[in-house]
Amino acid sequence: MKHLTSNVIILILLSLSSFCRAGDSTGASPALLSVPAPAAQKLPYVYTEWRHFTTEDGLPNDHIFAVKADSQRVWVGTENGLACIDKTTGKIRSWQEKDGLPWRVVSALDVNAKTGELWLGLFGGGLARFTGGRFDHWHQLNSGLVNDVVYGVAIENDNVWAATTAGASRYNTVTGEWTIYTEKNAPMEEIWNYGVSYNDGKVYLGIWGSGVLEFDVATESWKDYLDPDGEMEIDLYRDDGIVHVITTGVSFVEDVLWVSSYFGMCRYDGRHWRGFYAHETGLPSDFGNAVKARSATEAWFATDKGISVLADFSSDTWVTYTMDPNTHRGKAVVSQGKKVLEIVDMPRAIPHNYALWTEFDGNDVWVGTSKGLANAAGIGYYKGLKSRARHAATGREAKAAKSDGHETQEPPKRSG
């Protein structure tokens, strides 16, 4: 397993490098490029105000693996350091190994809302806590942490969970007790934990090859969610369960579980599963790196080809943000399933289409990519759909949308 793990890590890093491109700013006008406003239609909110942060702005590295908004601060985990953006002053402060950061690759972040402590998952370096300017470091030699390759971190009450390549660890910060969950004591068919999240009394683990595991904190019992189609990489019977056992991210909000995998995404409301694939939704790719849900009906998927937002579950309405690799301009495609409702061209959206993380910050959103961090201002944000003027695609954009795999929809004709 170790051998496999290291190979996959190398592959991931190589793929990250191949996606990196120089330059992130187009310098173009921030005005929307759109056709004259047609009739009002119920449409989702589209983020059009984007800012980018890169090493030029003070980030220690452009490979952004994790973002955590914490009041007036935004913590950023990169491939070579931790950064903190002070939203009040706009200043960026960073920490690398020379500054006391215990390990260079910060792969996961979470904040203990009670104590304000920042917890860091370190890819190959274990787990760290940053509080009051001091890093405390736990790894497999000096603590009960099961493995140093930490992909995900989540705070659950007084406990810290770490999703690692050799199982999950739960650290009780009050008693100091470490509990390890592997195939020995959890229904973990594989032990390579990719993602972990906590909400409303439940911890969810996204596991490479073992689907999703649910840990009920009150009863300390496990429940597993596996792909009824086994390890087949096609979905034989749709909506019969999780789309694939190779899961990468989990998010549980308003009693709804959202899952990202390398073979599509899915949603579970406790009774019904629903799978999402690129060939029938606004998703630009089935290769999901992470998912973050905002509500029972809205979730953001970070994929290898852009960020896709299921903005309204009931109407299957999506907003997908990408960057034009040639012009570096941004684009948001609003679609219902594959039907494009609107294409919004903008000076910038995400800095790179290989997206690794999303984070909500009130109405704003942060996106971590393999070439910098993006912040989208949610001015006037609204949930779900709302009647508003639709921005029709230009001919060039419609063509581009088609080439992306979207079906374009003619704007409804004005009546009378």
Partner: protein
């Protein structure tokens, strides 16, 4: 005979046979000596059971009821009944560290050191089919001890020698004394059947002594069970196996062995004396002449409701003992005369035992708080477990409030209606309603709470958990802990900034640092608005940051500190270069200056607390090691700092012994061991808590002199232990008063440093500083194990390497050692007394006691955890080479440390190189020399550590 084998035994037997058959994973359970007696009692078996019953081993539990046991416990810092203390029961009983479920109902702890103490829990090997095959029995868990195994309990213990004055046990003789070979020949006769209860239905039945002992064993019942167990009545049955008994039986024409003769059993057991209605399963004739022999069969009167009503008890069969009761057996027994009155006095067992002489009660005031109206002073008194209330105007005690154990600090709510007291030994905070002066609630917090303080609103109470390195934040409305902040190591005391926005927390121990690098201590800064840690200021090369007070300007706070030069040999003492003592000036922006309070010929050992006058002009600093208060001229101090260059502030002033004379105005003498200091809001008066004088010194701040002493009314008798405590905390016995024992062992515990003690070159043979809590019986001392006693450790050795002046006198040494022995070990936080192990701890115990590695290979006995770390002390007190020798070390074998409360004394190993328990095995046991651990999975190692923390 059949009927004396209890149902539970039968069940256990059946289960064990069944499991053996199925080859299931077996867990060994204690079954008790009486089950062994089933086979090991007959003449042809050498009356093995009776031999044990008549031995001291069988009475080992009972002797813990003796006053001597209490003395030993006191001497060893064991603050509880010996018959309940795992430390005592570890050698005076069997299975003391087993959980309840690991003991069958046939097992009784009251049987003291039973067969299974030496031979291991018997559930898996007790079956006759197994026991008759030695190899099979050993495979099933039967242990065949050798003489060295006895040393686990029978090594010389200082505590026992001090009380009993007994010479060292002659092991050869002892081994012969307890020898119990099978006879190989002789009678197979067994005891005649117990009179059939069914035939006499309606009559009360015998219940046996263990039923009585459920109530009649503790001090509240005068240890009645133990008194019986130590009497000859308890061995009356066993006595029938002696040659004398055989002789008597022969003379009386008894044809069988005495234990098979009803004629003998009639007076040597209870049930045969007066068959009554027979016996319940709980009864065994092996008990000899038990309670019911005199008091009548108990089945009808044993319910508590009846026993507490004398008339009802009598009506239910409880007999009053009369002369006739005894004469029934003792009249002309075997030609001996019987003196009833003398015999009655001998077996007397009143409910109320003779009252022991009360030890002197001290107060030991540590810290104080002034009520917001400045009228009352609350004093936290460690030794009396109280808060003493002093009327400030009249300077006299007006109340004493019982708090929890070891009150350490006290604070008022801003409205003065409530006071909060930290109870260090109980891990709690007592909430005192000030108007009624009563504790109205107790709040559980973290390990060993020390400093307490509210925010300015009074809505949040901060409690420093000294042994958990954390800060509990209490909501004072709900009186519940709402969060726990991370401190550094051993948070000690705290102070709120004048604008109420920040709280500075001192940390007694340095952070962990790289091996052989200087200390790095921390001031933890709390943002009071967010109740979160805002920043952490580093105080370099310093440790024991204790007292703290903000300057009224709000620009800085003063913090007391030590600068311990643990990286150079202690011989540098003569250059004033071992431990220096001073102050940190901790600025609001995180800058830290340091200055010393020592002067070339007169040091200022153990600065404990600091208080600044309301006008910001003076600071008072207590030196608990030299019984003085230093008065610091703050403007002068600041001007020295301002005049200094950066280089001087960084590297010169922190070590400059000449500077204090420029800013210390005067020293004011106090009484013994001044700790807390407090200044009244009008700036006219200061109070100093004299911990070892049970008094407060009152200082006139205009005259800068002590003007009064407030007697807190502790005992004026200075016991040997108290005298030792005084010596321990005094710097008088070191060159230029540089430090005291307390400087390196604050409050008897650790300072977390690794020292270079010997003059063998800088950095050679570094040794970790070990705790003094509960060390009395863990000799030898020193990591190399070369000091056989505390006298040796604290005597010439101390003078040679530490104090560099005349060693303690023999009287002083005796007192000092006496005190050190009594430093109590706090209750274990990971397994409260009587609590069951958690699942993880239980799995860890299995790892601790395992005999095979994960791949099935047998682990050599010498390389098992439990071989060197066995209960109750968890040390074999021998030296071993566990592969931890570094190139810096001269020795390769080191003393085996005890593991009791091991979790609170990091770092670990002889040189303190392991910062956590995990590192002992993940980093520093590459060749499995320190136990076989490299085959363990991570979760197994986690379990092992969880268990080790319970010891």
């Amino acid at each position: 005979m059949k009927c004396i084998i209890s149902i539970s035994f039968s069940i256990t037997f059946c289960i064990s046979v069944s499991l053996a058959h199925e080859g299931a994973d077996k867990h060994h359970v204690y079954v008790g000596a009486r089950v062994c007696a089933t086979c090991h009692q007959t003449e042809n078996m050498g009356h093995q059971f009776s031999k044990w019953l008549a031995s001291k081993h069988a009475g080992a539990y009972a002797v813990l009821a003796n006053p001597e046991a209490r003395k030993i416990a006191d001497l060893s810092g064991i603050p509880r009944e010996p018959q309940e203390a795992p430390m005592c029961l570890g050698c005076h009983a069997t299975g003391a560290h087993a959980e309840d479920w690991e003991k069958d109902s046939t097992f009784h702890v009251e049987d003291g050191v039973q067969c299974e103490k030496c031979h291991g829990p018997g559930s898996e090997y007790m079956d006759a089919a197994v026991m008759t095959d030695r190899d099979a029995a050993v495979k099933a868990g039967l242990m065949i001890p050798k003489m060295p195994d006895c040393l686990g309990c029978h090594q010389v213990k200082g505590s026992h020698v001090a009380v009993h004055k007994l010479p060292m046990l002659d092991m050869e003789k002892a081994w012969r004394d307890i020898a119990h070979p099978t006879a190989g020949s002789g009678s197979h006769e067994t005891m005649p059947p117990i009179p059939d209860s069914a035939a006499k239905s309606g009559k009360p039945q015998y219940v046996g002594v263990y039923v009585c002992s459920a109530c009649h064993r503790g001090p509240e019942f005068g240890y009645q069970f133990s008194k019986w167990r130590m009497s000859r009545h308890a061995v009356a049955y066993a006595a029938l196996t002696t040659p004398e008994a055989y002789e008597i039986a022969k003379k009386q024409g008894v044809k069988t062995s005495p234990q098979a003769s009803e004629a003998c059993l009639k007076c040597h057991t209870t049930v045969f004396t007066n068959p009554a209605g027979g016996a319940l399963d709980s009864y065994s004739p092996y008990e000899g002449v038990g309670c019911e022999a005199c008091h009548g069969a108990g089945s009808n009167y044993i319910p508590q409701a009846i026993m507490t009503d004398p008339r009802a008890a009598e009506a239910s069969g409880l007999r009053q003992v009369t002369r006739q009761t005894c004469l029934q057996c003792h009249e002309n027994a075997h030609g001996k005369t019987f003196d009833f009155d003398k015999a009655l006095a001998t077996i007397s067992h009143p409910t109320t035992p003779a009252k022991a002489a009360e030890a002197p009660l001290y107060k030991t005031p540590l810290n104080m708080a002034l009520s917001p109206n400045a009228e009352e002073l609350y004093v936290a008194c460690e030794a009396s477990h109280t808060v003493i209330v002093v009327d400030v105007r009249n300077r006299r005690i007006i109340a004493e409030i019982q708090a929890g154990h070891h009150p350490t600090d006290v604070t008022f709510s801003p409205d003065g209606a409530t006071a909060y007291v930290s109870n260090r030994l109980d891990d709690s905070v007592s909430v005192i309603d000030v108007p009624s002066r009563k504790v109205v609630q107790t709040i559980p917090v973290g390990d060993e709470p020390h400093g307490v303080l509210t925010d300015a609103s009074g809505r949040r109470l901060y409690v420093l958990n000294t042994s958990a390195d954390s800060i509990s934040v209490i909501d004072t409305t709900t009186l519940k802990e709402i969060k726990r902040l991370s401190a550094s190591r051993s948070p000690w005391s705290l102070s709120r900034s004048p604008d109420n926005s920040l709280i500075y927390v001192t940390n007694n121990l340095s952070r962990f640092v790289e091996f052989r690098t200087p200390s790095m201590s921390e001031i933890t800064v709390i943002d009071a608005e967010r109740t979160a840690v805002d920043s952490r200021f580093v105080v370099r090369a310093a440790n024991l940051l204790q007292g703290v007070d903000w300057h009224p300007s709000g620009d800085f706070a003063l913090v007391t500190l030590n600068r311990t030069k643990n990286l150079v040999p202690m011989t540098r003492l003569l250059q004033g270069w071992t431990i220096t003592n001073g102050l940190a000036i901790v600025w609001r922006d995180g800058r830290v200056d340091q200055v010393l309070l020592d002067e070339p010929n007169m040091c200022f050992p153990d600065p404990a607390d600091v208080a600044i006058t309301p006008d910001g002009r003076l600071a008072l600093v207590t030196s608990s090691g030299s019984d003085r208060v230093a008065v610091v001229d703050i403007p002068k101090l600041l001007s020295i700092l301002q005049a200094a260059s950066e280089e001087e502030r960084l590297n010169v002033l922190p070590n400059h012994l000449g500077k204090p004379t420029e800013f210390v105005i005067t020293h004011i003498p106090t009484k013994n061991s001044p700790r807390g200091v407090l200044i009244t809001p009008d700036g006219k008066t200061a109070f100093v808590a004299n911990a070892l004088d049970d008094s407060l010194t009152v200082i006139d701040l205009n005259a800068l002199e002590a003007i009064a002493t407030i007697d807190l009314e502790g005992s004026k008798t200075i016991t040997n232990v108290r005298y030792g405590e005084l010596l321990f905390h005094s710097g008088d016995d070191t060159y230029n008063r540089q430090f005291s024992c307390h400087s390196c062992h604050p409050d008897g515990h650790i300072d977390g440093l690794t020292y270079d003690i010997q003059p063998d070159g800088i950095g050679f043979s570094p040794v970790d500083n070990r705790t003094l809590r509960g060390i009395l019986d863990t000799a030898p001392f020193k990591w190399e194990g070369t000091n056989p006693s505390l006298q040796r450790q604290c005597g010439p050795r101390l003078a040679v390497f530490f104090s560099r002046i005349q060693p303690f006198t023999p009287e002083e040494l005796a007192a000092l050692d006496n005190y050190i022995c009594t430093i109590p070990r706090p209750p274990n936080r990971y397994r409260p007394l009587g609590a069951e192990l958690t699942e993880a701890q239980r799995r860890g115990k299995k790892m601790f006691e395992r005999t095979t590695a994960n791949d099935g290979r047998i682990i050599e006995k010498g390389n098992r955890c439990v071989t060197c770390h066995f209960p109750p002390l968890y040390t074999d007190r021998l030296r071993h080479n566990i592969g931890t020798k570094l190139w810096l070390d001269e020795e390769s074998e080191f003393d085996t440390p005890h593991l009791n409360n091991i979790y609170d004394s990091a770092p670990y190993l002889h040189n303190g190189i392991a910062q956590t328990l995990e590192e002992i095995w993940t980093r520093y046991n590459p060749d499995d020399q320190h136990g076989v651990t490299n085959d363990m999975t991570k979760d197994q190692l986690n379990d092992l550590i969880e268990y080790i923390k319970t010891l």
